[in-house]
Symmetry: C2
Subunit: 385 residues, 2 copies
């Protein structure tokens, strides 16, 4: 085993104590059992029920969005948000190359094409300055919009993703979106609880999306939500995600191609209990950051990702960024840590290197490519500190 | 109130006793609470967990399919089944006009076009004889397949749906599918527990799909499944519905555009408990059929839908078929029954009369149009008899 892997393992045990540590475990120490029992006893476990509305209201209030619409998962949330933002077949949507595959898939489900852009080291999210330079040469005006000069496709939307819970540079990205007439839709799947200049992520663009998958900061088993401030968009989101059925006492009339994407009440019951514990989870993750920080302070070859300036991160997944000199040792570190029961993982393979997306348009991606080689996520469950 | 509505209300109360009766309520009288509590206590509520595998195995064993893949709902199940059956953008897929909108939507999600066909009075499902006559004029050979003579689109698949749990004429439809080189995919969303000549619905075609929405004979809150006998198809179904991630200890590599469609373990826990009670639910629904039969025997203007010959129906939703002489009174009957707390509903509006599908190709639909005017579903929950 390499020296560096050895030092990291030692440091992690200093922070966490002895034992095995999964990457991210959910924690059910609140009202989960009680709410779920009540939900089953009521028989309202499915498409109708009080927990869905309550979860939506509490989520909106927490995030400071006017409305939240709960759906079946974060991917579905993003697909619908993009559709509501006007994304159509054969449009291009700018997304980071450094993201989970759902970001690109949601674009593809609409028949649109992801256009990959580079990230910045400070936030791990899209770099607005580099994006602006790229668009200056890659985009050309077409009517009141812009199109990709090479493909001729309309550039329709911009989807920043808040990587591992760290807010990206929203101010810069909003300006780029404005100048290039792009709808901004935030993929905040990983950043519930994260704030940019005091305002909750997912509330800056036209729409924002959240995920409550089992590995997220709070979970509903499977689940997601769309955040927005526009009431009409929210009503439309609800309509589209509930099969687009017109309200009627008995008639089954659907006025557009809708989706079966509503969150079941059973899952929303878990969500309500989880949301109550979110402040506690956030505090615990922040304490863990401090412990990791202290434990890793002396290892000069690695850097622990900290919240960008002006931001409050939820520290969903703690992240080591290796320096270039040890980047070649990433797999050795992954191997050694996992072998000793400390579950770590690398960043996702970059989107343009995945089989279904190799042919998509993309900007130069030097930073994303570098980060891909240097990121190692650490055990991050709430309750570890 | 009309005489006929009055007689029906009287008959329903004879069968059900006094009180209010929803159309279909789920029933949680088994191990639901116990399994869900165990699931939450284990922390495995999401994409990993023992209940999903158990549910899939028990479901496959119950239906006599080699494999079952549990997914997030019946619509997702059908979308993926159609994709695995080879449906591509711009293909046509033959579906009944008399169905829930999800059947048509699943086709549309793939960029394909639904082609609506007529139903038969005996089964409420696709009429194979009429379909054959229609295809003789509407289809023409093109290579080793057939295309729609008018639109030029390839006819790719045939999707029978077992309406309200009554198996349709599978023998006839399999023959049509064979002769016109159509993949047969069964939409068995409503027919868990229904058998055609002793064999479970959903296991006749290349793939079949189930739904466990809150209104179905068993529920998982939201859920569905794909049934199939081909192991390779099943492995592919699992892969596609779990983001198409290649198995690796830490790497995130996805080799095709997958979906986030897996059923959460929390929902599968409910499903395992529900499946244990399915025989009891089926027996109760059959008893209710007999009670309705007796209570409605003297009302000559209505006919209670019974299982087609050679079939065993699950009697998911009990169904009155009005005779032509009282078809004009359908809404009066719906109004009167709902006003007195007996929840009834009509058939779905036919697909070709829904805004998003008015322009789709279709056969003449006299029987579906007639049935649409004459169907009234009755309170059908398990446990009513």
């Amino acid at each position: 085993m390499s020296m560096i892997a050895d030092s990291i393992i030692h440091a992690l045990h200093n922070a966490l104590g002895e034992g095995n540590f999964p990457l991210h475990e959910p924690r059910f120490s609140g009202n989960e059992q009680r709410y779920v029992q009540g939900c089953i006893a009521s028989t309202y476990v499915s498409s109708v029920g009080a927990y869905v509305e309550r979860f939506e209201e509490e989520l909106a209030a927490y995030a400071g969005a006017r409305r939240a619409v709960a759906v079946v998962n974060g991917t579905a949330a993003l697909q619908v948000a993009l559709q509501l933002a006007g994304v159509q077949a054969n449009d291009e949507v700018i997304v980071p190359a450094l993201t989970f595959v759902a970001t690109a898939n949601a674009v593809r489900y609409l028949g649109a094409v992801p256009h990959f852009a580079d990230s910045e080291e400070a936030t791990l999210g899209l770099d607005p300055h580099v994006l602006r330079v790229w668009l200056k040469s890659a985009a050309e005006p077409a009517g009141d919009a812009y199109r990709n000069r090479q493909t001729g496709r309309r550039l329709r939307a911009l989807v920043p993703m808040h990587t591992f819970g760290h807010p990206c540079n929203l101010e810069g990205l909003l300006a780029v979106a404005h100048d290039y007439r792009l709808a901004l839709v935030e993929d905040a799947a990983e950043s519930l609880g994260s704030r940019y200049q005091g305002q909750h992520t997912g509330t800056f663009g036209l729409l924002g999306t959240l995920s409550f998958n089992g590995n997220k900061i709070i979970t509903t088993g499977g689940g997601g939500a769309i955040l927005m401030n526009d009431e009409r968009l929210a009503d439309h989101a609800k309509h589209l995600t509930t099969t687009a059925k017109l309200p009627h006492r008995w008639d089954y009339v659907h006025d557009e191609v809708g989706y079966n994407f509503r969150m079941p009440n059973l899952n929303a019951a878990v969500g309500c209990a989880q949301l109550e514990q979110l402040p506690e989870f956030l505090a615990s993750k922040r304490r863990l950051f401090e412990r990791y920080q202290e434990a890793l302070a002396d290892i000069n070859e690695v850097c622990l990702m900290r919240e960008p300036s002006g931001c409050e991160s939820n520290y969903w997944l703690h992240t080591l960024v290796l320096s270039d000199v040890v980047a070649d040792l990433r797999d050795t570190i992954l191997q050694a840590t996992n072998d000793t029961g400390l579950m770590t993982r690398p960043a996702w393979r970059l989107m343009h290197r995945l089989e279904p997306y190799t042919e998509c348009p993309r900007a130069p991606l030097p930073v994303a490519e570098s980060l891909e080689r240097r990121i190692v996520n650490l055990p991050s469950s709430a309750g570890l500190a």
